[in-house]
């Protein structure tokens, strides 16, 4: 039987009570990153981050957690790359459900994240991306588990906290994945209204399920739009307001990550992070300069090149060349 620790056991009835008492009416939830993190993220909480590692991530909210010095957080590693890197930099975390962490895809491995693992500073349970996606889905559906056909026969299975069950109809062996309801979800979206209704353009990754699964949900949005805009086209509402606890408007809020249709990732800055991580000292200096020593996210953007840099990343995203022509594969 798998021997991994189940950091967040499924508790559908306790969650029902929680969700029953979330406010459902249209109340204004707009606040600052500082306030939102200050009030809704506590030491020891279990955290999950929307988007996909370096794409549509709530960077401003993550910086704020680091700046406020949260510790002892648990984290879901559903492809957590730059987001994981920020939490590992604290370190703010002491346990992690791993699907994909430490690496930044083709960019290399995070030395700081490796130090946490290789120094035995984290409790670790192994999963997969689908397992964590379906664990969110289970919580969003209000059931304690979902069956699946993954992980069998591997060490990933052995060090997970899944359970083998038998299908009552077919007799098939199935992998039961326990519902995962994070204490807090942090999700970056394209558009939100003041009540927390949200729209996403492009892939939604696991965020619709994550927003429904989590006890508390903090949204950062590229821009606030009028509430009526949601009522004009309700088909596009991806997260309804009653799932959401706080809304923070953060233009360029996914930087240095990619925000589809808005701006591409800043690969130079991501490389600078990785290089800064080589030693704890160089990382500390980097954090002091870019995160701990600044007041807010706009200051960070300024340090990284400000609007001229962001304009360049926007052209890159839209594949415009330096003259503004489309379909360019130039590197700007």
């Amino acid at each position: 039987m798998p021997q991994g620790e189940l950091f967040v056991p499924p508790q559908p009835d306790a969650l029902r009570d929680w969700f029953r008492h979330k406010p459902k009416h249209l109340t204004r939830k707009v606040t600052t990153a500082r306030e939102a993190i200050g009030q809704l993220v506590r030491d020891g909480d279990y955290l999950a981050v929307g988007g996909f590692g370096t794409n549509r991530i709530p960077t401003a909210l993550l910086h704020e957690i680091l700046r406020q010095g949260r510790t002892g957080l648990g984290m879901s590693g559903h492809t957590a790359t730059h987001d994981f890197q920020i939490m590992a930099a604290g370190p703010c975390i002491d346990r992690v459900d791993v699907a994909y962490v430490v690496g930044l895809e083709a960019r290399g491995l995070s030395p700081a994240a490796r130090r946490l693992f290789e120094g035995g500073l984290l409790k670790v349970t192994e999963w997969t991306n689908a397992a964590l996606a379906w664990r969110y889905r289970a919580a969003a559906m209000g059931v304690p588990f979902l069956p699946s056909r993954i992980m069998f026969g591997t060490d990933t299975w052995e060090y997970s906290a899944a359970r083998a069950i038998q299908c009552p109809f077919t007799g098939m062996k199935l992998a039961a994945l326990p519902a995962l309801s994070p204490d807090v979800a942090l999700i970056h979206v394209h558009e939100a209204d003041v009540y927390g209704n949200c729209r996403i353009q492009g892939i939604s990754v696991s965020d619709p399920d994550l927003a429904r699964a989590s006890r508390r949900v903090i949204i950062s949005a590229e821009r606030l739009v009028p509430h009526d805009e949601f009522r004009r086209d309700p088909t596009r509402t991806v997260i309804p307001h009653f799932c959401v606890d706080a809304v923070v408007e953060v233009p360029y809020g996914s930087y240095p990550g990619n925000m589809p249709y808005e701006y591409f990732s800043d690969e130079e800055h991501l490389q600078a992070w990785l290089e800064a991580e080589r030693t704890p000292e160089s990382l500390r200096a980097f954090l002091d300069k870019y995160i701990l020593g600044v007041e807010d996210f706009p200051q960070y953007l300024h340090l990284c090149g400000g609007l001229p840099r962001l304009q360049k990343l926007r052209r890159l995203e839209l594949m415009l060349d330096t003259e503004g022509r489309g379909e360019s594969t130039e590197r700007l």
């Binding site: 492809t79 693992f117 689908a130 056909r149 098939m172």
Partner: protein
């Protein structure tokens, strides 16, 4: 660069590096109308190359949700906006994983730090199974899911004794586990498993009877002992060992000009 062929004067398409060779060989396995979930890097380059040359109807998917993009450049992340650029659908992680689970995905490509003779893969850690590890890697990501659920798993990987190991430090993703019938007995969907492993030296398949890795093609200029010397486990051998057909001028032209003009991947050789 490995010189191709004999005494002719070399031009640009007479030589190629091993990354180019691996990508070109991999691309040929992807038939028109197939579905493939790829990551970034060499697999994505192979899929792009196949789509441009052999398989215009190849449906390329990325685990974060991108389906059927007209890939304008190589994605940096399997979730970046290129993965659904002018795509058929910008969907979600569960959408892709459920496509795989209900049997709609033919191929996937995986990488890893270690592979064993059954095609099992380690992308989690080096060192004992108990934490803390000596070296920590990213973990499964979607690899275990794709290896469990897609019909055919392919690998493009450099080969040496550190990577082709008799015993994995950690089995992240399932190949044929311990041999014939083991996947089904463990609970994995029948009819799935590793299909081809493409290295800088050879192309490997899997022996039907034993489910062990079996050398099927040697790359030009590579000898059988060289292949065995670069494996930490004993390889099986196909009765015939045709030499891999080297990249054609067309393949190299498209790969270099359209697929990877900045040599992000093919420059890594």
């Amino acid at each position: 660069m490995i010189p191709r062929g004999g005494g002719r004067a070399l031009n640009a398409y007479d030589s190629y590096n091993s990354m180019e060779l691996m990508i070109c060989l991999a691309a040929r396995y992807l038939e028109d109308g197939a579905t493939v979930v790829v990551g970034t890097g060499a697999p994505c380059a192979a899929a792009m190359l196949a789509q441009k040359l052999y398989a215009p109807g190849l449906v390329i998917m990325f685990e974060a949700g991108g389906i059927g993009p007209l890939l304008p450049t190589m994605p940096i992340s399997v979730g970046d906006s290129r993965t659904f650029w002018k795509g058929i659908s910008a969907s979600s992680m569960p959408e892709i994983m459920e496509l795989c689970q209900r049997g709609m995905v033919d191929y996937t490509f995986l990488g890893g730090a270690q592979v064993d003779m059954y095609g099992n893969i380690n992308s989690t850690q080096i060192g004992g199974r108990q934490a803390p590890p000596k070296v920590r890697f990213p973990g499964s990501g979607g690899a275990n899911d794709l290896a469990s659920l897609c019909w055919r798993t392919m690998m493009i990987a450099p080969q040496d004794k550190r990577r082709f190991v008799p015993r994995l430090d950690f089995m992240t993703s399932p190949g044929y586990l311990t041999g014939p019938g083991a996947r089904e007995a463990a609970g994995l969907p029948p009819g799935t498993g590793p299909y081809k492993v493409i290295t800088q030296l050879a192309v490997f398949g899997f022996d039907d009877a034993t489910k062990r890795m079996r050398t099927e093609n040697l790359h030009p200029g590579v000898s059988a002992p060289e292949v065995q010397d670069n494996s930490g486990f004993e390889l099986l051998w196909a009765p015939e060992l045709p030499v891999s057909v080297p990249p054609t001028g067309d393949e190299l032209a498209v790969l270099r000009r359209e697929v990877d003009p900045y040599r992000y991947i093919i420059g890594r050789n």
